[in-house]
Amino acid sequence: MNHAKNDEIDRNLEKLLESLPDLIPEHEGQYALMRHGNIVDFFSDALDAQIAGNQRFADSIFSIQCVQERADQLGYFSYAVDTRKS
């Protein structure tokens, strides 16, 4: 992954988490299309959000992020996830 894309994903996630309390009531479970730390639009489906990003941003510098409060669970194999950041 190129650094610009990775930085964009990290920045957008941090911005989304900052705004999460305000977003949850209306957009929980939706996908936010984000660019440069700003939310461009919301979509009910991840693929729709990704397609919209591909069409709007030719440089691919954007990310999609699910509006959700809780971390996902990995069930029986939760031990397989370590605590290192990727």
């Binding site: 992954m1 894309k5 990775n6 994903i9 990290d10 957008n12 996630l13 996908y31 489906d45 991840a46 693929l47 990704q50 397609i51 591909n54 069409q55 990310s63 999609i64 992020q65 699910c66 809780r70 971390a71 996902d72 669970q73 990995l74 069930g75 029986y76 194999f77 939760s78 031990y79 397989a80 996830v81 370590d82 605590t83 290192r84 950041k85 990727s86």
Partner: protein, 149 residues
């Protein structure tokens, strides 16, 4: 309704699936042919305790998937932030004769935003509830399972 079936050993149910990149193609919803591009068989463990489907790093590497986001996962070591990918899951109606065979594939239409699973595992994919709740999963006592989707 399409379906696949297989065997379990009382401890785990493994199914052969394909993972197909969905992040870089805009016409997946309209074209099955495009969806099947790059299909490759992987071994998936059915895990009803996993809220999202997870793919091993070797799957990411094999398919050259690019992350679309990052996702938080709760494990025994606490919350871990992992790369998230956008892909389609496809089921083989029967075990493929070779890695490139796509004639007997049935594609699960919903795109999955799954995470990357680190570490060495005997399986390639954890098939989570984001897929399983879109169909009907039957696990029975005679050692077989069936998934209708």
């Amino acid at each position: 309704m399409p379906s696949i079936q297989g065997n379990h050993n009382g401890r785990a149910a493994i199914v052969t699936i394909a993972i197909i990149d969905a992040a870089n193609y805009n016409n997946h919803k309209a074209s099955d042919d495009r969806v099947l591009k790059g299909a490759f068989p992987f071994q998936a463990l059915i895990d009803t305790g996993a809220t999202r489907t997870m793919i091993a790093t070797r799957v990411v590497t094999r398919l050259n998937l690019q992350p679309v986001n990052k996702l938080d996962f709760a494990g025994l070591g606490g919350v871990s932030r992992r790369n998230g990918y956008l892909f389609h899951v496809a089921f083989y109606k029967s075990p493929p004769a070779n890695a490139s065979e796509v004639s007997n594939i049935q594609v699960f239409k919903k795109a999955i935003n799954g995470g990357e699973l680190s570490g060495e595992n005997t399986f390639d994919v954890l098939l989570g509830m984001d897929v399983l709740t879109s169909g009907n999963l039957h696990i029975n006592k005679v050692g077989t399972f069936r998934f209708l989707f």
